[in-house]
Amino acid sequence: MSSVAAYFDLRNRRQRQRVIANALGLVVFAVMIFPVYWMVATAFKPPRDILRFTPKWYPSPATLDNFREAVSRPHFWDTVRNSLVIVTAVVLLSVVIGFLAALAIARFRFYGRRAFIVVIIGVQMIPVTALIIPLYLLLARADQVDRLTGVIVTYLTFVLPFTVWTLRGFVMGIPKELEEAAMVDGCTRMGAFIRILLPLIAPGLVATSIFAFVQAWNEFILAYVLLSSPEKQTLQVWLASFTTLRGTAWGPLMAGATLTSLPVVIFFAIVQRRVAFGLTAGAVRG
């Protein structure tokens, strides 16, 4: 085959591939997004359109009654507040502490560095379902069961290692030479850190914070076990307790589910690209 013919053959193949890929892409999109669509659609439907054997595919007439009912259920606002308190504390603690550790492993060479990295990666694999037993017993002993502080501390078990690892990637992405140049020009190490590294790392700090936010916001098991009073629970536990009632109120449940996922979906959409690539960016780079 001549190379020109091969080139055209290749271009044809690409175009054919693209048409097929586009069509299949639409199918993938529809299948993946349908459950989410169904949640939102149900949330806006009046009861008679929800409890139908033949489903109504879109919410018309639309109503906000389900949202009103979900919000006015007992402890909705309590659990929203608890979730916000827990998540804020966890994010602040883990990002500040984790940033220091990330600086250490990205910018310094020291004995034990490799061991520390192995530990940080390894502990992320310990199942929470295994750790919850001793965590519960230890908190019971310290009289911290059914308190938000206990949950905040235990959330660090899975948020902090992740934060250290992600921030390390961001710090390494900023050339050390920039700081070194500033120091040659008379900056102190601290000055170089504040004037050069901090502004450059800011987007990474924001992205990591939001990712930590999502993790802590979505957590269920620890909150479920460690918080027993309904007014102390988190939004996830509140939502899960919806379903235990006989004859679930699907409309308000879907409205509650929509409200629960709204903040994380919005935040996540903003930073997803940054963090997703950060996680394995090194892998192909090798």
Binding site: S3, F110, I132, L156, F220, I221, F242
Partner: protein, 325 residues
């Protein structure tokens, strides 16, 4: 690792800086440079010891003790040696649960990796507009809290008004009107698998796509001009290059799916029948329903040990790909 050449460029600067430091530094200098590093690490190490190492030590300790409600109040268990392990490992029920969990994990990881790989390959080939659309859909599902996902799927397979029941019936897959999926464990686990895989696909697909799109196009085109089929290209070029990512994602998925808990627990309204027990559910029930914390701890330890091999593969691969400098 012999990977994509183009991405090696940004690493080059760092490499030279660190190797020059390594050449000049003797032990004393290295320790001196280490001092600020240890100071920076101190808070993290403190937290890790407090919330991870110490609880882990306790987990192992309790697994050798009789630790029930009375011990919980007294804050002190009674040492019973290997009794808990003997009881757990000698129980036929436990091994049934382990086998069930292994099968569940295999099916879930297999489905996740298969669909995610196909979607990632599609993402590389589709046009920019459709690609954005699909990415938005994937990210949306990814961000959806697991508990929300569970609620949605519960609603979709509802006994009376489930939209999935209706659709499957209309498609003549079978009669699913007034069908309770959870009456039969295989069908119940099919729904649980759907929830898990649906929730797991986005992360794997997007990460794999990131890997695929770093494979140099010239390499693929050269092979295609030489007459390679799409399958050849995938097998001989694309896959070997993204293999490190693939191994990382597969081992992560194995570990995540082996410890699936809330999908079973919440889907079955906090009281799954024994035919729905997975290892983590079993450990949870023994600890927090029956208050046999010692027994639950022993099950949890066995679970961690069973996963140790996969964990080591994961850690090794992660350290390898991240230790470029």
């Amino acid at each position: 690792m012999s990977s994509a050449p183009r991405a090696a460029v940004p690493a080059a600067g760092r490499e030279s800086a660190s190797s020059s430091r390594r050449r000049g530094g003797d032990t004393a200098a290295r320790l001196r440079e280490g001092l600020p590093a240890y100071a920076l690490l101190a808070p993290t190490i403190l937290v890790l010891v407090g919330v991870l190492a110490y609880p882990l030590y306790w987990l192992v300790r309790i697994s050798f003790e009789h630790f029930g409600l009375r011990e919980l109040i007294a804050h002190k268990g009674t040492w019973t040696g290997l009794d808990n392990y003997r009881q757990v490992l000698g129980d036929r029920e436990f091994w049934t649960i382990v086998v069930r969990t292994v099968i569940f994990t295999a099916v879930n990881v297999g489905a996740t990796m298969l669909f995610a790989t196909l979607i990632a390959l599609l993402l590389v080939r589709m046009g920019p507009i459709i690609r954005t659309l699909v990415t938005v859909g994937l990210v949306w599902v990814w961000a959806t809290p697991a508990i929300v996902g569970i609620a949605i799927w519960q609603w979709m397979v509802d006994f009376e008004f489930g939209v999935l029941n209706y659709t499957l019936t209309k498609l003549h897959v079978g009669d699913f009107i007034h069908h309770n999926w959870f009456d039969h464990p295989v069908q119940g686990f099919a729904v649980i698998t759907a929830v898990v895989v649906w929730g797991a696909i986005p992360f794997v697909a997007i990460t794999l796509y990131a890997g695929f799109s770093q494979v140099p196009l010239e390499l693929i085109e050269a092979a295609e001009v030489d007459g390679a089929t799409s399958w050849d290209v995938f097998r001989k070029i694309t896959f070997p290059l993204v293999k490190p990512i693939f191994i990382i994602l597969a081992s992560l998925s194995i570990i995540w799916d082996f410890q699936v808990f809330q999908q079973v627990w919440v889907m079955l309204e906090n009281r799954p029948g024994t035919e729905y027990y997975l290892v983590s559910v079993y450990a949870f029930v023994e600890s927090f329903r029956v208050s046999q914390y010692g027994l639950g701890a022993a099950i949890a330890v066995v679970m961690v040990l069973l996963m140790l091999g996969v964990t080591m593969v994961y850690v090794r691969q992660m350290v390898q790909v991240s230790e470029v400098e």
